[in-house]
Symmetry: C2
Subunit: 249 residues, 2 copies
């Protein structure tokens, strides 16, 4: 059992393509007199990572394919946006009720391939980072250099879920942290052996940070302090359910 | 933006059927010198609620039906456990790879109808509370009476997710809190109107509490302090996706 703190980090400037996000976060931490400690998890929202990495597209520059036009029409969406959604996906999992659920190149199943228009300005859409684990590694290297502490970084996005309305933030990239707490083969107080229990700690950390940050822009970084996790450098890949185990393809 | 704290509440005794869980939690808070404040969310794990409400079944007393026997055989499970899973469900959504995904009477889609054997003792299985919103209301009334503070209560369980390995804790009942933060029609910093953004704050609170509590038993209660939410008395029902909007039935 641990007491957990989630500390928003205000004061990051508007991030532009090509900027060094790790260095910007280091500076913001310093301005907030927030000194990272060993074990801290720095949570960074996808949008600011995509901005730093130039993953922004002006819709005026997008020429929709015939397939995008058909899907856009059936779901009541902008056909240029649907073109981006299709380009970012390996397949459409479901489309209906104005929602397009795709599998991204990373293996995530989410609405609109993670393409979205909030907090990026008029006529612009943001795409997910090409490799959010790599993004997390880069940010972690900068933060560890700046602080001397051994920390983890989680990059998050907001995903819907089947069967439950509303969204939660989940991890789309991480560095310095095992995405799971592994209880398999541990025993409870009664001697019962836990078999499949494996909390997705990176997703719970992502959701905890969202509680502190909200959606109205402004603050895309939080420090989660006190969580128990193991160090690892697998990224989030182990969270993506292998096709052969998936009951909902 | 808010700084969030998640504070585990140790010292709850082993809870027995018929006991007043709200009063027991009040006493544990006092012993920990933890005074509830307005806006605090008290998170209570399902298992301890099920124990207080007598939702425990001795497997030796369960006579499996022919249907339970067939399903148990195909999925390599105990046929008495499968009998309970079927009794607690309105339908089997998927079964495969040793996993049985059902829809419960409450409308939750989860593994094994929430029936499980951890932290309850040998040969015993726990069922979900009949109505976890009612459970949350009862606990909230006791805590508000004991503290004078206006608080919320969230009852949580551990659910898997399609497409992502590992589990996160989610809300199966709540009282005194709107399950969503509603951003629909609010605008971001660039004037873009958010359309469907509606974070499931009760689920993010559930996950944050899990980070602090873990799975090895012992501590089933945490206080989440500092989260922004609206008061409401809908329970979690609005989170259950209506059948007609569901793309994954």
């Amino acid at each position: 059992m641990n007491r957990i703190e989630v500390i928003p980090v205000p004061g990051l400037p508007e991030v532009k393509p090509g900027e060094d996000l790790g260095a910007l976060i280091s500076s913001a931490l310093q301005r907030n007199r927030l000194r990272l400690k060993d074990g801290d998890v720095v949570v960074v929202k996808q949008k600011v990572v995509s901005k730093a990495e130039g993953r922004l597209v002006s819709l005026a520059d997008v020429v929709p394919s015939a397939r995008a036009k058909r899907l856009a029409k059936s779901q009541g969406k902008d056909e240029r946006l649907v073109e981006l959604i299709l380009r970012e996906s390996v397949r459409v999992v479901r489309a209906g009720h104005g929602v397009i659920i795709t599998e991204t190149r990373h293996g995530f199943v989410c609405a609109n391939s993670g393409v979205d228009q909030s907090n990026v300005g008029k006529g612009v859409a943001s795409l997910l980072p090409e490799d959010s684990d790599r993004s997390a590694r880069g940010i972690r290297a900068a933060l560890e250099k700046g602080s001397g502490a051994e920390v983890a970084v989680v990059v998050t996005d907001t995903f819907g879920r089947p069967w439950r309305l509303g969204q939660t933030d989940v991890a789309i990239g991480c560095s310095g942290i095992d995405p799971f707490v592994r209880y398999a083969s541990k025993r409870d107080r009664f001697g019962y052996r836990l078999r499949v229990t494996q909390p997705a700690v990176v997703d719970e950390i992502a959701g905890a940070a969202e509680l502190a940050l909200g959606k109205l822009g402004g603050i895309p970084v939080a420090v989660v302090r006190g969580a128990s996790y193991s160090r690892a450098e697998t990224g989030v890949a182990p969270i993506v359910m292998p096709r052969e185990r998936d009951l909902f393809r």
